[in-house]
C-alpha cells in the first residue's frame, strides 16, 4: 500500500511584504511559530482578522515566508460564513477571485482579490514520484481511512526536489472523512 501523510489545513493567509508592513508596521518581520511539512515554510506567530460581507474570522494564522501576492485559503464552509464564493484553485492562481478585508494590529488592507478554496494536492519529493511513477500535475485518487471513509478524486500531484511527501486537504475534506494531520492516506492505483 502506498501511503501519504495527511496535512489538514485550517483557514490561513499568505501575505505580501507590502501588506505585512501595512498590517504590522514598517520593517516588520514575521516570527516563526512552527515549521511546516514543506521545507522553509512556517506558521507565523502573527494572526489577522478577515472580514467578509456576512461574517468574519479572528486569529487567522499567517503562513510564512512572505509571498509576492497576498492569498487567503478558506474552506467552503468558511466561505458561506464570510458571505463570499471563492473558486477551488491551485495555490497562486488568484485571477478573478473575491477579496476580503484583512485587519492587523497596526493597519488594514481591503483585498481586491486573493481568496481561494485550495485544491487538494500531494507534494512529492522527486524521489518519491520516481519510485511510484507519478508525474507532476497528474490527477490521483486517494482513500482516506477515517471514521467515515471516502475516496478523493482529482488530487493534484506536485513534484519537486524542494518538496516533502505530504497531502494537503482542507478542514471540510478532513472533517468529512474524520482524518487529522499526521494520519496516513492511501494512494490508489
Amino acid at each position: 500500500m502506498k501511503t501519504v501523510p495527511v496535512g489538514v489545513s485550517a483557514r490561513h493567509i499568505h501575505v505580501s511584504p507590502e501588506h505585512i508592513e501595512i498590517l504590522f508596521g514598517k520593517g516588520y518581520e514575521l516570527t516563526n511559530f512552527k515549521d511546516l511539512s514543506q521545507p522553509g515554510q512556517f506558521a507565523a506567530q502573527e494572526t489577522v482578522t478577515i472580514v467578509g460581507p456576512k461574517g468574519k474570522f479572528e486569529k487567522v494564522r499567517i503562513l510564512g515566508p512572505a509571498r509576492p501576492s497576498t492569498q487567503i485559503e478558506v474552506s467552503r464552509t468558511d466561505s458561506f460564513a464570510l458571505g463570499i464564493k471563492p473558486p477551488v484553485r491551485e495555490s497562486g492562481y488568484i485571477e478573478d477571485t473575491p477579496g476580503l478585508r484583512v485587519i492587523g494590529p497596526v493597519g488594514e488592507v481591503e483585498l481586491e482579490r486573493g481568496v481561494i478554496v485550495a485544491a487538494r494536492h500531494i507534494h512529492f519529493h522527486t524521489s518519491d514520484a520516481e519510485k511510484w511513477g507519478i508525474q507532476d500535475k497528474q490527477k490521483l485518487r486517494v482513500k482516506l481511512h477515517g471514521e467515515r471513509p471516502l475516496i478523493l478524486e482529482d488530487v493534484i500531484a506536485r513534484v519537486s526536489d524542494q518538496y516533502a511527501l505530504d497531502m494537503h486537504i482542507d478542514t471540510d475534506e478532513g472533517n468529512a472523512a474524520g482524518v487529522n494531520t499526521g494520519d496516513l492516506a492511501e494512494l490508489l492505483e
Copy 2:
C-alpha cells in the same frame, strides 16, 4: 446510471414533547415551516440556541414532528466549535453521546446526551430498493459529482415504504464535494 437526489443537512435538532414544553411553554405545538423530503417530516418555524463548553450556535432549526428523545445533529466542524466530540451514529442511537445546553424563548434544557454526527444514509422507498436489488442496512458506495468529486463509502441503505428516495449527508460532506441539496449523486455498483 443510478442516481439519487442529495439532501445536505445543516445542524438541527429533534425535540421531545417534554422538552418542547420546557423550551416554548406548556401546550406548545411546533409550526410547519417547510415540508422535508421524507413524508410527514418538516422543518419547524421554531429555532433554539445550542451551547457547548467552547462555543454556541443560534437559530438552530427544529425538525418536526416531536420524537421520543431529543437529538441534536451537528457536523464534525460544528462539534469542534462547540467543544464536544460526538460520535458518528445512525439517527436514534444516542447511548453514550455528549449533551449540550439548549435554550428556547421560554426555558432551557441541559441535555445529558443526544448529540451525534449523523451517519450518511440513503432513504429508499421499498419499490426503489426492489428495483435496484438493495437490502435494508446494506452499505453502499456513492459518487458525488461536485466541484471536487469524491466517493463516499459505507453509505447506509434504509428501506421502508414510508420513505422517499433521498441521500442525507451533512455540511462537511456536502462542502467537501461542493454539492447542494437537489443535486444528483451516483450510486456505484
